[in-house]
Homo-oligomer: 342 residues x 4
Amino acid sequence: MRAAVFGASGYLGAELLRLLSGHPDVSLTAVGAGEQAGRSVGDVHPHLASVDLQLERLDESVATRADVAFLSLPHGRSGKLAPRLLDAGMRVIDLAGDFRLAPEAYPDWYGFDHPTPEWSAKAVYGLPELFGEQVSGASLVANPGCYPTAAALALVPLLRAGLVTGDGIIIDAKSGISGAGAKPTAAIQFARRDGSVEPYRVGGHQHTPEIEQVLESAAGHTARVTFVPHLVPSVRGVLATCYAPLADSGTTDDLTGALSDAYKDTPFVRALPPGTLPDPKRVTAANVCEVAAVADTRTGTAVIVGAVDNLVKGGSGQAVQNMNLMFGFDETTGLPTVGTFP
Amino acid sequence: MRAAVFGASGYLGAELLRLLSGHPDVSLTAVGAGEQAGRSVGDVHPHLASVDLQLERLDESVATRADVAFLSLPHGRSGKLAPRLLDAGMRVIDLAGDFRLAPEAYPDWYGFDHPTPEWSAKAVYGLPELFGEQVSGASLVANPGCYPTAAALALVPLLRAGLVTGDGIIIDAKSGISGAGAKPTAAIQFARRDGSVEPYRVGGHQHTPEIEQVLESAAGHTARVTFVPHLVPSVRGVLATCYAPLADSGTTDDLTGALSDAYKDTPFVRALPPGTLPDPKRVTAANVCEVAAVADTRTGTAVIVGAVDNLVKGGSGQAVQNMNLMFGFDETTGLPTVGTFP
Amino acid sequence: MRAAVFGASGYLGAELLRLLSGHPDVSLTAVGAGEQAGRSVGDVHPHLASVDLQLERLDESVATRADVAFLSLPHGRSGKLAPRLLDAGMRVIDLAGDFRLAPEAYPDWYGFDHPTPEWSAKAVYGLPELFGEQVSGASLVANPGCYPTAAALALVPLLRAGLVTGDGIIIDAKSGISGAGAKPTAAIQFARRDGSVEPYRVGGHQHTPEIEQVLESAAGHTARVTFVPHLVPSVRGVLATCYAPLADSGTTDDLTGALSDAYKDTPFVRALPPGTLPDPKRVTAANVCEVAAVADTRTGTAVIVGAVDNLVKGGSGQAVQNMNLMFGFDETTGLPTVGTFP
Amino acid sequence: MRAAVFGASGYLGAELLRLLSGHPDVSLTAVGAGEQAGRSVGDVHPHLASVDLQLERLDESVATRADVAFLSLPHGRSGKLAPRLLDAGMRVIDLAGDFRLAPEAYPDWYGFDHPTPEWSAKAVYGLPELFGEQVSGASLVANPGCYPTAAALALVPLLRAGLVTGDGIIIDAKSGISGAGAKPTAAIQFARRDGSVEPYRVGGHQHTPEIEQVLESAAGHTARVTFVPHLVPSVRGVLATCYAPLADSGTTDDLTGALSDAYKDTPFVRALPPGTLPDPKRVTAANVCEVAAVADTRTGTAVIVGAVDNLVKGGSGQAVQNMNLMFGFDETTGLPTVGTFP
């Protein structure tokens, strides 16, 4: 099976190259970039020196060379590109936000009108642990955001089990700096970020409606979420600390049991035993999400925590997991479950 | 005025020495330690090489050499020591938790019975921006915890103004590693913490009742707080992200206005303008708390954020501020308002 | 082929488990530890939760269950253990320093007499790019130290080519904190190390004679090395900056050419093009060494730089590479050549 | 005394504002910037919110408002500006490299011809511990670079004492990222630098001739220096590890004694006792240089180490120290000798 990566110069793109170049069933045939076109992969990403390909400007004509396209482009670009690739016969996995929401949400949350709303309904939201069956048959997959992956994998089993209620959920998330992308700005300089902990886009982050939507569609509840992301001084990793009202007299054991049950047969989600809490450090470079929950019965609040590597299970690893399902490979092929630690 | 520091080998103790050695109205006359007694300050803390004193085992006999005692001891020790120092005629500022709570709270939250409950009522909670008048006349001051300082300075003005309600408050706090103390453990090693973001003591941290108590006494409301602290990979700094129900149709401007009004005449609390959010990096080594608030009107939630350096405004700097008030010095003497940045 | 790991509770041990558990030709059958015996691998190393084994106290009776033993024990222990394992029919790869030096060097550099000097001569120094043929036939391999790996791979080709001379070499090395081990001490705490750059064991580090010995045996020159290691605030990675007298009018192109020639057919050493310099960040989690050289013709000094991940090419990865050669597997089996970046 | 700061938007400029705003004998009257002109100090540098001034475009007309000008401008600009300020009657402290070297060195090392070579000879090199008397009478001071400060304070006493020789010196320096400036580039992003150790400008850094010149003028020896700087993942701090041939049978005690003697009456240089080695972390935010030396008698090499905060003793603090001397204030006024630690 032949794969093309659009947008290979960023962090998600590089991580796609790392994973796909080691995937036994995939041949990486085309690597796309804009300004960097013409340079070799090893020149742009020296750690990928062993990937012997050149970056090029790609469009739908790549369909003659590849069966699947991964789109790791700025928001707003894949909405136009994906339909052309689909029309050319490819399957598409979009790592941007362009097919994650209902079209009418884009003006408010992304600041643009969706260019191809008629295609939006054909996209499957690629969170395999929740929507794996739909992914298997999909031609167009909207790969989830990093925050929604960590939050939804933590919350959905408890919502489904009726242990927490969906109204009045608060999600306080912490992300490493790689989540802010590779484009140089004053805000992501080392001297600015080292020693800093900073909230951003309070109440206005575009992952807010994505989280609400996945909670609603997976759990069948209306969900109302106050979402506040923070940047912390690490490179990779997202921790989502979720606060939800306990439905009734649930205990930590109840919550933990529901998470264990939900994920006992999944290869990539690890429900931790009571007394242990997730840490994204433990899943660095692995396609794994750790989840755990504690009932604060004194206040009637469930604290549910999820952790992923934003570039792997919260990004490129999940995209490869979706590809495995779409093409009938074993779900775990080419995806590490052991992280790099320490 | 002569000062003694008990417990000078830890981080809070070292920070007391840094600040007191530069204070124009204070003569540092005695520096206490246990195992390190007999060594010079510069030997134990090489960055304090210019402080020419020896660590010694101290008790109440230090009253002949000092007017005020700062107690930077493990929880449970100052409860016994402080009364003896007070009886010997000294004034006492306790940086541990021994006089912060009502005596009956100690078994549940600290795991021991308060040894001297009769003295507890004589202690003043040393958060000067809220209780400055009582501090001025106090002999025994309970210096607040780092998390309660950041959280209370953020929340109290909005509770007082009726803009948020006190029931169902969630406080998600992030702390640098120095908050875990200087004692070597596997949990605070560099290789363990770098790249890590980890919640701890969910629902059970001893600062929880301290926060509830200060909110209640300062704002006259019952407060119920779910408190979850996290360790992030920085050295200094606490950020408290507080979520409280908006009382009615409050806006970000309303919230910001209430914070600005509350702190416009205080030297150490900085209410940030709309669009800016607190960051402990900016107050590193300064006796400053930054606060700001955003109304998420879509969900009816106020997001209120406070940031301090846990060793300064959240610890030793606040202790010196209390001392200034107790002894009639200008509140700002010897206390930096400009942080070290970057 | 069945493998046993002695000393699995440390960082090198954990990295052996990570690599061996993913090696297609190896079955990991026994995992040894001291105090941690009885616990599961996932309990001691949560990131290795998918390795379903228990730690146990191991001795030479493991020979019934394993063909090769990896010894990741404190210096001084494998000198006694290895002969017993060899006598029991196993092959042994020692990650400690016990078989790296001539026996007479141990009192001065390690502080103990070598317990089994008669076995010392039978050990092969396991730096495959330099001594690959001997490794293939070895029963006992002394796996090199992290600093000697980076320094020797950088220096040897230039010494062999006569481009630099071996007398008066200075090696200034920088290591991440994981190199100091996992045992909690004040010196490796996060708050102590973050922001710190500190030389240690100046002139007295036990890797000094190891470097001199490998330079002499590989290049046939007497080598005299001043070696100063430093701790820098990162987790993984060693950078060795080596300064050697230019033999005559060598240029940067000459030096670079010699490095490229030496490594053009090796899978794990990457000679960088002129203008690029090694960085251990790029080889994090990969079994790769980057090397490069610059001629400072103004001063007659060659600056030659090597970078490895101290836990992989400078430790456990190299041990697996040695195992591959000893057992006739392809040298690259189970070993990543693409690092985790950023 | 009234001070103006040109180039206040960078890190050295901000550090000048921090120090000058707390200096009891200085009134900060003008703060210059280019693109940021018109904004308030607190807007550009939020940690300096208490400095109530606006940035403005400054030229020599500032002489009516200020007695001394600090120039924290890109290399090449102060060479033209300083003479105009001096002609207008001001005294000038230049933090760039424009007056540090003999004019003929600029084309090779800075890439431009010195615009005002006739003024160059009038500049005094502002390393007060070595050239304090000349500084006291100077109108134009060339404030040293961070690397030369650390290296020269470490090396000069041993060269003067004849304990080491000046030919064949190697200086391997490690710097925090703030030394690379505040301008956003891919090279100084958090995700790029965290976990990285990287040499740069090998053999070509413009501080090389500055170091050779100060060693020669202070010690009366010809000095030939191979200088290799590295970036390490911290914010502040420079550590210079210097390797020089031992002149004869010098011991660590001899070297340590010479450093102690040289600095016993200086307030800002701390010669450490044997067994202790410098660490820039200990002098963070302090105007202090730590120095120490070890004799590797086995190889005949002295290892001499200096550490400074590049923004304070290696930059803005030293500039204020120079100002104190130029204007007859006590040398230590307004300059901290206790660092922020941890």
